[in-house]
Amino acid sequence: MESTLKNYKDKLPIKLLDEIRENTPKGVSSSRVKKIADAVLEEFSSSQVEPGESVGIVSAESLGEPGTQMTLNTFHFAGVAEMNVTMGLPRIIEILDGRKKIATPMMEIYLKSPYNKGKDIKKIAESIKESELKEFIIEVDINIAEINIDVKLNTAKLKEAGIKDQEIIKVVEKLSKNCTAKINDSSLLIKLKGKDQNINELYKIKEKIKSIYISGIKGVSQVLPVRREDEFIIITAGTNLKDILELEFVDDKKTVSNDIYEIESVLGIEAARQAMINEIFKVIETQGLNIDIRHIMLVSDVICNLGKIKGITRYGIVSEKPSVLARASFETPIRHLINASMIGEVDELNSVIENVMLNQPIPVGTGIMKLYSK
């Protein structure tokens, strides 16, 4: 069998060859294997795009036409802690534009066994959530006479979160070089060191105290444990994929963020491409539309093929077009023309839009062939 399939190495993709190997029963004669492979080859070549097919425009139309029917609604999670997620057209625009700051960053954190069966799910979720000291403070008082700050802490809450007194003292003392902190029962006493005890310094510290980072993953502002099929996952508002993936209880193979840029920086461009495909497909699916995934794949490929994310904007993909006229035909024409003229750019008239402008046959479809004579 292997010897027969060898001949198809250049003709069929590895994945299809593997499939043939897998699905062919053992002991099939090589002539039969050849028949099978020929049938696969025929099917494969008939499903390939024909040369000159305008895949780009067809994809653009296939995405653009249903886009007109999309509604601007946002999707809401039912439950106690409501989270809203950008969906529909705004989300698609966000992805395709390659925005660095997306409107609603979120993660879906999958957990390793046994946590994915619901073990300590609430506790884990809370531990991920970024918390600041103000959440544990009841009251802050400045004693001007004594020159100190008296912070009343919510001990019950601290205990629940598993934060030790020493940890708090450590972070508070980091605020200023000349301050010391002490904890008596439920009150945190902050004093200034040294002789020149400055009230202003004390005020500054008081303002900073509230926003001291205590625990959790930075950037995760909300957590929501939910059951997805038969496992528990944690949905978060705000993302920090890098830190999350380092946690031991997180299943780093399944956990995803919806921030394409973040995925690109943490997992690389191939992951970003796949994430983009998934995200766009998810939107289209929830809208009840039906777009062939290959169109989305093509768009994602175009956005990612330079090794970094280039949105479909005049600063992204369009600025990478080799033709001056093609760039000029999409927003800010004068700028492109002037910049091109300064360096003496040459337009080879190789793509569609330039030839439409000049009223020449466009090099797609029937126009891709040329007649040569000697």
Binding site: S54, E61, V356, N359, T366
Partner: protein, 600 residues
Amino acid sequence: MTEVLHNGKFIGTVHDPKEVITQFKEERRKGKISSEINISYNEKSDDLLIESTKGRVTRPLIVVKDSKPLLTQKHIEQLEKGEITYSDLILQGVIEYVDAGEEENALVSFKEEEITDKHTHLELLPLAMVGLATSLVPFGNFNASTRLNAGSKNQKQALGFYAANYLVRMDMDVNLLHSPQIPIVTSVTHTISDYEKHPAGQNIIVAVMSFDGYNMEDAIVINQGSIQRGLARSTYYRPEIAAELRYQGGLIDEISIPDKEVRGYRSEQDYRYLEEDGIIFPEAQVTEGDVIIGKSSPPRFLSSLDEYNLTQSQRRESSTAMKHGERGTIDFVMITENEEGNKLVQVRLRDQRIPEIGDKFTSRHGQKGVVGLIVPQNDMPFSANGITPDLLFNPHGIPSRMTISHLVELVGGKVGALSGRYIDGTTFTSENEVDLRKELQSRGFRDDGTETMYNGRTGEMFSAKIFVGNMYYLKLKHMVANKLHSRARGPIQLLTRQPTEGRAKEGGLRLGEMEKDTFVAHGASLLLKDRFDSDKTVVPVCEECGLIAIHDEFKNRSYCSVCGDNTVITNIELSYAFKLMLDELKTLGIYPKLTLEDRY
């Protein structure tokens, strides 16, 4: 303590706002305070608001006291006899005008029977909740509000008898319906608004049935016999105006048959209808291109140089001619002066419009449609009595729109026509549908309005009973004659050499950006090129400098304005728009160099 605000300005406080209001209103009803001042109490903000500004919307209501309206039978009798007038009722405090604020404190009953001890006012008429045009829709209370809106909107576009002095008027774009009729099914608004003096439709026989699919999608089928008898015929009037304008240097336009020397002289044929004074004679049958008012203007730019010119500088032709696709008869010619004392000529054009396929018609219920087919009378279905309908309306228009009034009017119209009386179809207070049906039955017809009908072509009886009756139909001002447009060749724009835009300029229909994309998607490369060939030009290009060269037709040689005669100049074919863009780039200081390559 309640704050009192007059027109939004604080003027004082009162203890008992409700008592103040009752007193105020009593005084107003007695006529001691102007009836145009309104007072209201806002419980939420505890404010007493007195309003006397202009621009408030107020509406009349009958005052109710002790669960009885103040307007009595006696008042009505007095009104009928002419002993009192409507304004007396306001002075007596029987009717008062209430504004938006005061309305909030009032409880208005729609009907006299429904008055309880809580009501403060009675509506003059339940119909008052809709506007004038909407109240012209008969049996409007059977409909959804959206359809009432559509119905009233359609009526505004109906052709009718707009003014009795139309013969001496010079209105723009006017249509007059021939032999308009008063509707059989009327409403009180028809009487109030003198509808019989300016009717806008005709009573016709409508059968609700399909016909060979020619009344699909809201289309209607019309009986050709009815059209030949004058159904929905109208006349279209349009004035053409020309004035002798004065220019600098004592020059003036001249209304006359233009000289042959005049620049832009048309052909003699075009001026054939003009009389000596340069104006067309009445009753001339004109078509496109014919001159209506001959006029010539002085040359446009009279520079000092021209004075030394040997040839007398030419006058320009500026006649008024029939536009593309227009035809008609000259109806009326008028010669006067305008405000500046210049000669002003107004010519009115008349064109008879006989209903044709594509003209728009509607009933009064928002059931508009376009004529899909005109059927010879002998092919139309007919009833057992030998009645052929004038119009066939498709039943599919009814279920989704739920215009029950359309059906009720049909029955009502039938009853009215049979009994020889007008039917009151006033919204909310119309004649009872059940009674109408009974009356129809007593006239020897089926009470649901259906009749046995026969196929006009075969004579076979239809197995279904057809719903037929009389309806008031309106011809709308949208007629194909004013909209039909096509172009194969025609005028082009000066700047881009692309076809002009719009029907008036005999323009083309643009194949836009997105349409272009579909051609690209199909890979129809050469078809796309062919479509965009409308501004194709052949341009000589200097291969040396890559700029557009000059071709001298007289000497039949090409040269480059930069490189001179000794260069290779090649003709290339491209869109004029691109050539224009290259020129514009040059004005920006950008040097667009064309590098030519052999195509093969």
